[in-house]
Subunit: 423 residues, 2 copies
Amino acid sequence: MNREIFQHHRQELHTHLTAELLPFWTSRTADREHGGFITHFDQYGHDSGEDEKSLIAQTRSIYTYSSAHRAGYGNGALADLARHGVDYLLSRLWDEEHGGFYWMTNRRGEVRNDQKIVYGQSFAIYCLSEYTLATGDPRGLDYAQRTFDLLQKHATDTRHGGYFEMFGRDWSLKGPGAAGGDRKTLDAHMHLMEAFTSLYEASQHPLHRRKLLEIIDLLVTKIMHPEFGTGIPQFWADWRVAPQIKFDVIWGWDRFTEDGVKRAAEDNTSYGHNAEFAHLLLHALDVLGLPAETYREQFQKSFGHAVQYGVDWEFGGVFVEGSHGGEVYDREKEFWQQAEVLIGFLDAYRLFGDERYWRAYANVHRFVMDKMINHPVGEWWPLMTRQGVPIWTHMSHSWKINYHTVRAVVQSIRRLDKLMAGG
Amino acid sequence: MNREIFQHHRQELHTHLTAELLPFWTSRTADREHGGFITHFDQYGHDSGEDEKSLIAQTRSIYTYSSAHRAGYGNGALADLARHGVDYLLSRLWDEEHGGFYWMTNRRGEVRNDQKIVYGQSFAIYCLSEYTLATGDPRGLDYAQRTFDLLQKHATDTRHGGYFEMFGRDWSLKGPGAAGGDRKTLDAHMHLMEAFTSLYEASQHPLHRRKLLEIIDLLVTKIMHPEFGTGIPQFWADWRVAPQIKFDVIWGWDRFTEDGVKRAAEDNTSYGHNAEFAHLLLHALDVLGLPAETYREQFQKSFGHAVQYGVDWEFGGVFVEGSHGGEVYDREKEFWQQAEVLIGFLDAYRLFGDERYWRAYANVHRFVMDKMINHPVGEWWPLMTRQGVPIWTHMSHSWKINYHTVRAVVQSIRRLDKLMAGG
């Protein structure tokens, strides 16, 4: 690849980020009346009015503004926005009695769901660590560490390793089945790895390093498919594969059949998750000071499966999910899967030097630029047909928000810069 | 068995406890100058002068006096003695900076070994929980819970389950080999089960119950031999069996060869440990409100191996250790193994109604009464030849102390009382 092609892609991303994506948020998200962020917007970018502030949306917003500030954008305005979010997070979502963050408040900051969901706690650790790294405000790392300590006390499974994920307000483990107390997920463990990476980056504490190494080993040896190296979504506590079911407390708009089970409930993997896992792992190794070679085979499998089966060479973009062996089940286009493979394919290209990854990146980049972004408004469509016609049309709700989109653009620019610098 | 025979054995134990064993301690152990307990005595019961107060000896003493008080002995003097020990434990052995208990002070209370050893922390949880149960003083449960929380934060292995065991003062995990940071032991995990049982009994907290259930499952399914159900002493972090080595920080006077390895380093089990594990598990189930039937097969194997291979029907008492399959390696007589099988064989007799267990109990009881106890002084010899001639002669040091002896007598009396009551 020549430098001009990298530069061209970088320029497109940079324009989108600074002229569309970040302005979409900075112009409308701060709730100056009740604090925190408004996170529900329709296809025109108008407040769609849902009376909720979710832990996920508040923490992901804090991550977005902190990390974008740290990457050099916003001239300080993004740091102020992050601080505005942290003020709300610590005053409204933190449970002073039992510790940990509630799952949901209404817009006025009244608690509407007081459960302690590990997936949400992981984003709290992630965003608060990034916030301290970005701004120096010690509150972030302080509460990130408190949350980490609570997870070690209440959520670890000292029998089989890993973390239980669904708790009541007082950290009592929830029941089985849809309550989720008997299951472990790729999703929560992957985001704990992501969170512990930033926590360790901020704290440099040996304990955080050790727990990060433990969860990496767990992910690679238990949560990835033993043959294909692809992510398995759900497990029983003892790490036997569990059929993928819908939980009572959901954190995404994943599609299930009427009875709450996935079509291919025991042979299902997500291209976006696999690419996300691999680029997060690569970043974790970098923060740990370990060589990428440590998990070379894992990277080959994670990125290889996505590039071989996930890319839609006909209409562009990346499919949703399919079997571990390769068969594609769902050919629609989700926003977050596009975002994660952008970073992942650039990492794979840098790691292996294989032109196939560059072509895959360029393919998805083109699909995002031409189809996925709602340019007049600034954010991305959440879900499109295979051909690129919007199916869902909101620009944001409690589970979409901006962490995937902004991170993908910021991190892709960083990787393109490294490629142009010859690294 | 008839009531008279139970009564006769009970009377012997009661006389030993009240006229010899407890008076040995109450007359000489309190250090009124520096606080805590003097725990080093020679064969005549004279202070042998070692300038150390170990976490193990202080906590085991607190357990002994608390539990004996709770069982109705001492007219309040034992509770006072326990409180005297707790005052020292919390003021001299607790680390105000990093939390947890130091391993060793000198007699004046100056820290001589500041490492955090899980084996010792487990006895702190055990004795402090028992102390609150016995006296109502809330300090015990408070510090037991703090120690439990520290173990959950620093010691758990979130990759393979279980607990790492050897830490520096700041809870940094120690290195491999003799430092012990890469190993897990039956000993520490069994004593954590014992500790979590009393902690849960005192707190009734669901988290303590959950962690107790987790460690029970771990012990039964990972730490006991898959075929023989006997205890395997040492493992690597991932639960592969490790050769049994001597650690830098030791907590007993176990015998190793010159190079610090056991003779049968990978096929070695202790009769006393197996009986102790089983009676502690039975007690844990009782505190949990679960039926003994839950682990009936485990009880059959633990007690069965000890009664079949461990009992010396010729000279009396129980041997030290042998192979999982049955071959006896060490025919000497250690004090603590006698103590633990007394409780264990009575439990097995009550559980299975098999006369063989009564005969084994009566055999060991006789050996203890006639050989093991240094009657003129009041405590037990630490180690004897097979025939019952003392090899080591101290009445106490940092690792011997009184938890095995007093507990065995108190608990055997309790079990004989139940047998006489028909239960």
